[in-house]
């Protein structure tokens, strides 16, 4: 559910940036951007144990898990950054006055690189097993 909301907001942000006018960035776009980042912040707090602990304090399963999702973030950053660069080159020829759209897409690309590993981890990680918490 959270991941679906996040994906819908992402599509909305990109379409808004691509189809919006050349006169700067709308206030509504910033609101949608904030809404888009909210699930990331919530999921980040839920996955903090794996995402933010120093690697020396992770066990082997957690370190492997973090490595896997960081790789996803790396490739997301690479692909999204490349797409924005191509778009900016094309835009500089077609309509150089609308570079704010490029800034919008760059913000989305950065947000994706940060959020995709967290969203993917939150989406695919199994629910906690109650037996893990039993102490006796």
């Amino acid at each position: 559910m959270v991941a679906a909301l996040w994906a819908v907001c992402l599509v909305g942000l990109v379409l808004w940036a691509l189809l919006g006018g050349p006169a700067g960035i709308d206030a509504g776009w910033w609101v949608l951007y904030a809404v888009w980042l909210l699930p990331f912040v919530v999921l980040r707090s839920m996955t903090r144990g794996v995402a933010e602990r120093p690697v020396a304090r992770l066990d082997e399963r957690e370190a492997k898990l973090r490595g896997r999702y960081l790789a996803i973030g790396y490739y997301t950053a690479l692909c999204a950054g490349f797409a924005v660069a191509v778009y900016l080159v094309a835009l500089s020829h077609a309509d150089p006055t609308a570079l704010a759209r490029g800034a919008q897409l760059l913000l989305v690309a950065m947000g994706m690189a940060a959020a995709v590993p967290t969203v993917a981890l939150g989406w695919t990680a199994p629910d906690d097993d109650p037996e893990d918490l039993e102490t006796a």
């Binding site: 399963r61 893990d132 918490l133 102490t135």
Partner: protein, 91 residues
Amino acid sequence: MSPASRGERLPIHNRLRVLRAERGISRARLAEMVDVNPQTVGALERGDHYPSLDLAFRICEVFGLPVEAVFSREPFAPLSESLYGGGTGGR
């Protein structure tokens, strides 16, 4: 599976759940004894994670058993079958 391995992914079965139950050790307690998180012990028991050699040795040390008694490439037979054999039901 060790990160150094390649090719076909072969399963590693284990007897962790049975050994824990036999000795009355919770996942959390075992996790504390081998210095991992309880979720990792759960992942080992479910077969979602295969241990490194280091972790396998640490677990075996807790139970005082050799590695082959705790981990195996082949599924372990049920304990009742190991003790009483056969499985035909009659004498």
